[in-house]
C-alpha cells in the first residue's frame, strides 16, 4: 500500500516544530507500524536527510519505550497494544496518517517524536517502592500468605509499562492512571501497607509538582492503556489519599 504520513518534526527541545508530509510506497500489510517507520527512515538516510527520531526498544509491547500518537490516538487505532505491536493491516492503501509525539507540558519534546518522561521517574522515586533492604535476609517468602485475589489484583496494577499513553490521551494530561496503578499495587499487598500513607501522599505531591493535569474521569486513559490498567486504580488512589490525609 502507499501512504501519506504527516509527521511532527522538531530539531530540538527549544526549537519550533511542524508537521511534515512524507510518502511511503509498497508497504506490506504484515509490517509493524515501526517497521514502516524504518522503511521511511532508510529512505530518508539514502536521500541524505535526517531520519525521524522516535523511541522504541523491545518491539514486543513490554518495555514501554514506544510512544506515538497515531491518527489522534495513543498507540494508534487498535486496542490493548503498543505502537510496536500495531500492524499496517490496520490501515488502507492511500491513507493519510498523522504521527505526533505524546503531548503534555510535563512531557517536553526532545526531538521529533521523542519526549522526555523523566517526570514519571521522579514520581516513582518519590515513593514507588517498599523500603526494604536488598540483603536477602528478609523473612521466608511463604511466611506471609497473601490472598490469591489480592495478589492477582496487585499483578494487574503492576502490569503498567510506564509508556505514558494515559497522559498523552488525557484531555487534561493527567497522570493519575500511572500513579494510581503503582499506589494500588503496593496498597493491595501487605508488604506495601506499612508505608502506604506516606507513599500515596509523596507520590501525589510529586505528580502535582511535575505539572500533570487533574483527572476528570473521562476514562480515556483506561481505553487507550496498552495493558488495560483499570480506572479502579485511580479510585483506590483517591481513597488511599483521602484516608492518609484525614489521618494526618
Amino acid at each position: 500500500m502507499n501512504l501519506t504520513l504527516k509527521i511532527w518534526r522538531q530539531k530540538g527541545p527549544d526549537v519550533k516544530g511542524k508537521l511534515v508530509d512524507y510518502k511511503v510506497n509498497d508497504i506490506s500489510e504484515h509490517m509493524s507500524f515501526l517497521e514502516m517507520m524504518d522503511v521511511l527512515n532508510e529512505q530518508l538516510v539514502n536521500s541524505g536527510d535526517e531520519p525521524v527520531a522516535f523511541d522504541h526498544d523491545c518491539r514486543e509491547g513490554i518495555c514501554g519505550m514506544c510512544s506515538l500518537y497515531i491518527n489522534g490516538e495513543a498507540h494508534g487505532p487498535d486496542r490493548a497494544i503498543t505502537t510496536c505491536q500495531l500492524h499496517m493491516r490496520s490501515f488502507k492503501d492511500g491513507d493519510t496518517i498523522y504521527i505526533e509525539p505524546w503531548r503534555a507540558a510535563a512531557f517536553p519534546v526532545i526531538k521529533d517524536l521523542v519526549v522526555d518522561r523523566m517526570a514519571f521517574e521522579r514520581i516513582q522515586q518519590a515513593g514507588g517502592f517498599v523500603s526494604v533492604n536488598t540483603s536477602g535476609n528478609t523473612q521466608d517468602a511463604n511466611s506471609l500468605p497473601i490472598s490469591k485475589h489480592a495478589a492477582d489484583e496487585a499483578m494487574d496494577a503492576a502490569a503498567c509499562i510506564g509508556c505514558g499513553a494515559c497522559v498523552a490521551t488525557c484531555k487534561n494530561s493527567s497522570a493519575m492512571l500511572f500513579v494510581g496503578a503503582k499506589v494500588s499495587q503496593y496498597a493491595l499487598l501487605p508488604q506495601g501497607q506499612v508505608e502506604a500513607a506516606d507513599r500515596v501522599k509523596n507520590m501525589v505531591a510529586q505528580m502535582d509538582l511535575e505539572g500533570f493535569g487533574n483527572c476528570t474521569n473521562t476514562g480515556a486513559c483506561e481505553i487507550e492503556c496498552p495493558k488495560g490498567i483499570s480506572l479502579s486504580n485511580i479510585a483506590r488512589m483517591n481513597r488511599e489519599y483521602l484516608s492518609a490525609s484525614l489521618k494526618g
Binding site: W8, K171, A205, N217, L242
Partner: protein
Amino acid sequence: MGILSSSIARKVAMALSALFLIFFLLMHVTINLISVCSAETFNMVSHFMGTNPIIQFVMQPVLIFGVVFHFVLGFVLEIKNRKAVGIKYAKNNGAANSTWTSRNMIYSGLVILAFIVLHFIDFWFPEINTKYILGDMSGLHDGEFRYYHELVEKFHSPIRVGAYVVAFVLLALHLLHGFQSAFQSMGMNNKYSKCVKNFGKWYAILIPLLFIFIALFHHFNH
C-alpha cells in the same frame, strides 16, 4: 489554596460540591412539581422557604457558596488542565475513547452558569429586593400570595422557556458524566459502582426532564 493544593483534594472537593448541588436539584424540582398539582400548596411552601430564617440565613448562603465554589473550582481546574496540556494535537480522536459529555463539562457548565444568572435576574434579585430592600416580608400581592402567579408569569415567554429547555438539556448532559464521576473521584469503585452508574444515568435524565416538563406545563396551560 491550602487544603486544595493537591490534585486529589481538588477533585474530591469538586465531587462533594457536586453531590451537594445534585441533592439540591432534587429538592428544587420537588417544590416546583407542587406547582403543577396545587397552586395553594406551592404558595405555602414557597412562603415558608422564603421567610424561614434557617433556610434564608443558613441554608441559602451555604447553597450560594456551594454553587460559587463548584463554578470557581471548575474554572480553576480547567485553566490548570489547559496549562498541563501545552501544545495541542493536530489530530485528536477523542470520540474513540471517551464520551462527548465527559470531555465538555466546562461547556455544559458554562451554559448552566448562564442559566443561573438568568434565574437570579428572574427570581432571586426581585425576591431579595422585595423582601430585604423594600422590607415586604408578607409574600402578598393584591392580598394573595404572589409566588404561583410570578412563576406562571415567567413562563409566558416562549424565548425564556426555550432557553430554559436548552439549559436543562445541558444540565442532563452535565449530570450524565458528573454523577458517576463524583463517586469515582471520592474513591468509590466496587461492586456497587455499576448500580451508582445506572442510578446516575436515570437521575441525570429524569430531574432535568421534570424541570422541562414543569416549564412546558405552565407555558401551555396558561
